[in-house]
Symmetry: C2
Subunit: 120 residues, 2 copies
């Protein structure tokens, strides 16, 4: 089930264990998702969610869903670091505004189609 090719004692600790200054065990829950060469990926997740919460959230999920959970947490954490007030909720508001604008434009275009068809 492990996605990394680490061998005990052979590879450097994962980015999480390195930041937390702890031994990176062979069954480390972070190692498959936080490789040593991407330290910032874990740093933001740790800053926003906290390592122990991330650990707990991953442990509560089946292994095949953990990669997606990590991706969404990394996305949320990066958004929160960029925008400490709104985080990725800022993106949601902006997408909802785009939807409102598109729905208005679509309604206008459809009304024009109906109008023009009268003269076909």
């Amino acid at each position: 089930m492990k996605e990394s090719g680490r061998k005990q004692g052979a590879a450097p600790p994962c980015a999480a264990c390195k930041l937390l200054r702890r031994r990176c065990a062979q069954d480390c829950v972070f190692a498959p998702y936080f490789p040593a060469d991407e330290p910032q990926k874990f740093a933001n997740v740790h800053k926003v969610f906290g390592a122990s919460n991330v650990n707990k959230m991953l442990q509560e999920l089946p292994v095949h869903q953990r990669g997606d959970a990590v991706s969404s947490m990394v996305y949320e954490a990066n958004a929160r670091v960029r925008d400490p007030v709104y985080g990725c909720v800022g993106a949601i508001s902006s997408l909802q505004q785009q939807i409102d604008a598109l729905q208005t434009q679509l309604a206008m275009a459809q009304a024009e189609v109906v109008h023009l068809r009268q003269y076909e």
Copy 2:
């Protein structure tokens, strides 16, 4: 700067201090945003972000931005509790799909308008 009307010793502790079983000081950073009568609001934020991270994030913001930051964190935390794999990133994907669909519909309606105008 306080938004709550608590008086020391007169009111119950805020929802955060109650959950964390600590004394709710008069300058408690959580109290204005997590009233005693909304325990679930803090419970999810604590589960997802951790009380000490929320404390740190609020302290790093000016007081006038903390209410919005709490609202967005509560939104994100509730989304993560409902959907532990995708959290509010699931909402972002779904909104983006709606935008793609609306853009396609709009392009079709606009093309039809152009076509119909040829016969005006």
